[in-house]
Amino acid sequence: MKFAIQVNEGPYQHQAADSAYQFTKAALEKGHEIFRVFFYHDGVNNATKLTTPPQDDRNIVNRWSELAEQHNLDMVVCVAAAQRRGIVDEGEAKRNGKDAENIAPGFRISGLGQLVEAGIQADRLVVFGD
């Protein structure tokens, strides 16, 4: 079965990002397809590579990046939500005159159409938030 996952909250503040990760991992382990993980609202903060949690805690951002690499996951960060919250890739940085980018490996920035498309193409949309 094809799942789409929507993540509405950032890492650490709410459990939503953890729950979404555990669900995604379990779905992959069961042989399901993850059509896309879409990060919206503060969820875009899951995609900053500047995150530096204490060593004895999980690294939520790296965990996503690793899962994406292992399973060729499509992880999309909403551009409008990302711009508001300062999550930028090289292209966005250039376009908006910023001197740095901070997007973690495995994530890409794109439009809300990607969420709508996920809703259309996937068999199920599962939303995690606060």
């Binding site: 939503a16 669900f23 379990a26 779905a27 069961k30 199920r124 938030g129």
Partner: protein, 102 residues
């Protein structure tokens, strides 16, 4: 058509569970996750409401979230089934859609 409803809020802080239960139809299921798991416990104020709901809908609670909060399985209301993340995935797959009561 059947819906898997997920509730992630403590019923003692937010109204998500009540709103969900008032719209959950016969044959649908409710899965309690995150702070929502506090609704699944025996001897608490929400127990009668949960037992009443169990008459027409299937009730589930996410085991890992219970465990994290120090709640042993024997404290879960009878009729509420405990599932793990794989079980959560199964529930999402076997229902037509998922409605998250954020």
């Amino acid at each position: 058509m059947s819906i898997l409803h997920t509730v992630n809020k403590s019923p003692y802080e937010k109204n998500s569970l009540d709103s969900c239960l008032s719209l959950a139809k016969e044959g649908s299921a409710v899965l309690l996750i995150e702070d929502g798991v506090y609704a699944a416990l025996k001897g608490a104020a929400k127990e009668p409401r949960m037992k009443e709901a169990a008459q027409k809908i299937k009730l589930y609670v996410l085991g890992p979230d219970l465990k994290a909060r120090g709640m042993a399985e024997d404290r879960v209301i009878e009729g509420v089934e405990i599932v793990d993340y794989a079980g959560f995935v199964d529930l999402a797959a076997t229902h037509d859609k998922v409605n998250a009561w954020l």
